[in-house]
Amino acid sequence: MSELKSNIPEGPLADKWTNHKNNIRLVNPANKRLIDVIVVGTGLAGGSAAATLAELGYNVKAFCFQDSPRRAHSIAAQGGINAAKNYQGDGDSVYRLFYDTIKGGDYRSREANVYRLAEVSANIIDQCVAQGVPFAREYGGLLDNRSFGGVQVSRTFYAKGQTGQQLLLGAYSAMSRQIGRGKIKMYNRHEMLDIVKIDGKARGIIARDLITGEIERHSAHAVVIATGGYGNVFFLSTNAMGSNVTAAWKVHKRGAHFANPCFTQIHPTCIPVSGDHQSKLTLMSESLRNDGRIWVPGKKEDAEAIRNGKLKPTDIKEEDRDYYLERRYPAFGNLVPRDVASRAAKERCDAGYGVNKTGEAVYLDFSSAIMRYGKEKAITEGLGNISESKIKELGKKVVEAKYGNLFQMYEKIVDQNPYETPMMIYPAVHYTMGGLWVDYNLMTTIPGCYAAGEANFSDHGANRLGASALMQGLADGYFVLPYTIGDYLADDIRTGPISTDLPEFEQVENEVKDRLNKLINNKGTHTVDYFHKKLGKIMWDKVGMARNERGLKEAIEEIKALRKEFWENVLVPGDLNEFNPELEKAGRVADFMELGELMALDALERNESCGGHFREESQSEEGEAMRKDDIYAYVSSWEFNGDASGFSLHKENLNFENVELKTRSYK
């Protein structure tokens, strides 16, 4: 049925976006008033899209499941946002950001999309500053930058450790302005439960009012899905508790392809798991790797003594420490990309050098940075010969100014002071590069249904570079979608309002209600979390940081069996017509149970190692990932064929005309 057309414009790479903008159709301002757009999700992608579409004149209906757009998961992003501004004069350019992103993604993304992302990145910063986003500045009053993993320039803009918060509040302000003007109708505490198609086009959604439980029909001329990533399929992840795949999954089941589902990012610097009670994992921003050095004991007996509480990290002498990233990757050291850093940590821990009680942790140590900054400070302040403890004190202040809130967060959770003893970290699920397949215009394979932000698959290939998700979300929402959607909506200026009385709405609404009824009336014996944890364990063990054929095949069977058990045995309390968080959770976990299977299937099909996807069958003698460009240089785009027959694979071949495919080396 649906054929994959990426709709990449003709012409040289650097001119594609400009040419495309000049050639696509526009909707004139008077006609925009006749057009409704639904935006599901109000994180950076959805929030920026909703605000911009409303400014342009469309009537926007926006949905989020929290009680305010300001609480979307984007709020939690810490480290920063990339932009090719070259303010530091260190040789950055649009091309370099493009190149780094393509390379960082291990050559599994589209050149044209990534180039456009790099091209609009600078504009994002201008826009956000105009909105009052208080980025970090230098004493001269100009914007400050830091560097992030996987690159050799400083192009990351930040607002202490709360960059996502500040950017989201900027987008939320812009939305608030349009809400005040009546151009956005905001539906807080609403969850989209399905999409409605009329004559094959996306024309509306079915949503549940989470306060009253009422099932509602909403119509529009186009639907934008900006509902974030699906990392919570692993149960434990750095995502917010409510992050889910439901909206994207429902759209997939109604005809939108799901691309590269197995591309998951495991972030190297998270606080390790402490026990079974754990409900989520906390990220320690990657920016910490600018100054923190990662190590484990070089001797197994030391590692063991630490695990048994007989030695402290500070007891291990410098020469007995193994700074394994600096050792293995001298060129990038602690700043290797996330996938590389995560695998290296796992390798050390699997080999028996891990440090906390569980043996699944490595150190992130700030003592050298504290001394280095202290000495610098002593010189700039002309303090001459001062004692080591004084230097340390000065250095701590510098580190505090940079990472104070992160250190405090760590101390609150772990009850240890990271200024005095190294932090303990371990990789955790963090981001999903896969998502709804979209063409260059961000349209899915359902006409009129768009996907933006983490919910789509578009720009990060097999691995996302740090500080690039915020960039992508805002690029999609502020600068790409508002243009490209006009090309499609130009056909709808005479359509008039879409009626929600059409039989298509009724049918989908009934299906949604049936499923909710089934969940609530099941009255089984186990809670939703019981199943979610079981699913998470299968995913982490067999579809996690390292994957192999046998494990993946087992995972598929185990997930199928678990899904069956879920539907027979799940226990959802309460009623349909009330505020019922357990019912919300049940629906989301039911969808994760289906997605998990597709992730394993996709990982099985791709017998190469690339980016975050590591197939044990495809590695070099030193254990480095081996890509197979001759076989797998494509996007895996999965079509849903109906519950009985599963999924079928379509391949979008990736053509590299401007970069040469190289073995990604950070040595």
Partner: protein, 250 residues
């Protein structure tokens, strides 16, 4: 540790609520407060009881969803944190813990511990922004240098998470700390100065309409604010308001 919990139960906005007692056992010190609540809820569900509704999402102190009034304090004992960042090591075996929702006229209870904070949304929509279109056709970001101190001060005000603890803590249920944080952030930046009068007048007007009380300078809000939003923001907003009222008359 083993604990006794006294928790506010209320079916919906219109029904009457009451405190109900629960016991939880074998709680580890390393658990977060909300993980302890998860354990209680799992037990309730299996027993066939209705679990306790409470708001939460990020569980790392930044989204502002969580909102529990614990032993008479917004976000519980301990300073500078939200409920989700509170750990059980702050309690002792055998403790009795009282858990209630935010209480304020402008924050009606939706269910149990969940309240409706959309009054904050309407205040934001009345003026919590800079009127600039998101077209991207603005000037280069470095064309407006901003003194680092101003930028840092604006940032500090901007870290408000909109949780509402300030309102819940205030004996008058005033929203001054929340509103002043946004007014200050934007008034401190050159981009935001252009419409500072309109902004403060509209936001204060909306705040009054929502039924928040007056500020009598008790300073309780600052103490309980998880993000350390300073009272000096209220002073700045009062100056802004006075200034705007004068400008408007002319």
């Amino acid at each position: 540790m083993n604990l006794t919990l006294k928790i506010w139960r209320q079916k919906n906005t219109t029904s009457q609520g009451k405190m109900v007692e629960y016991k939880v056992n074998n709680i580890s010190e390393d658990m977060s407060f909300l993980e302890m609540m998860d354990i209680l809820n799992e037990e309730l569900i299996v027993k066939g009881d209705d679990p306790i509704a409470f708001d939460h999402d990020c569980r790392e102190g930044i989204c502002g969803m969580c909102s529990l009034y614990i032993n008479g304090e917004a976000h519980g004992p301990d300073r500078g944190i939200t409920t989700c960042q509170l750990h059980m090591r702050k309690f002792k075996d055998g403790d009795t813990i009282y858990i209630e929702p935010w209480r304020a006229k402008a924050f009606p209870v939706i269910k149990d511990l969940v309240v409706d904070r959309t009054s904050f949304e309407r205040i934001m929509a009345s003026g919590g922004f800079i009127s600039v279109n998101t077209s991207g056709n603005t000037q280069d970001a470095n064309n407006i240098p901003i003194p680092k101190d101003d930028a840092d001060e604006a940032f500090d005000a901007a870290t408000c998470i909109g949780c509402g603890a300030c309102v819940a803590t205030c004996k008058n249920s005033s929203a001054m700390l929340f509103v002043s944080a946004k007014v200050s952030q934007l008034a401190l930046l050159p981009q935001g100065k252009l419409e500072r009068e309109r902004r403060v007048l509209n936001m204060v007007d909306q705040m009054d309409k929502e039924g928040f009380g007056n500020c009598t300078n008790t300073g309780a809000c600052e103490v309980e604010c998880p993000k350390g939003i300073s009272l000096s923001n209220i002073a700045r907003m009062n100056r802004e308001y006075l200034r705007a009222s004068l400008v408007k008359k002319d």
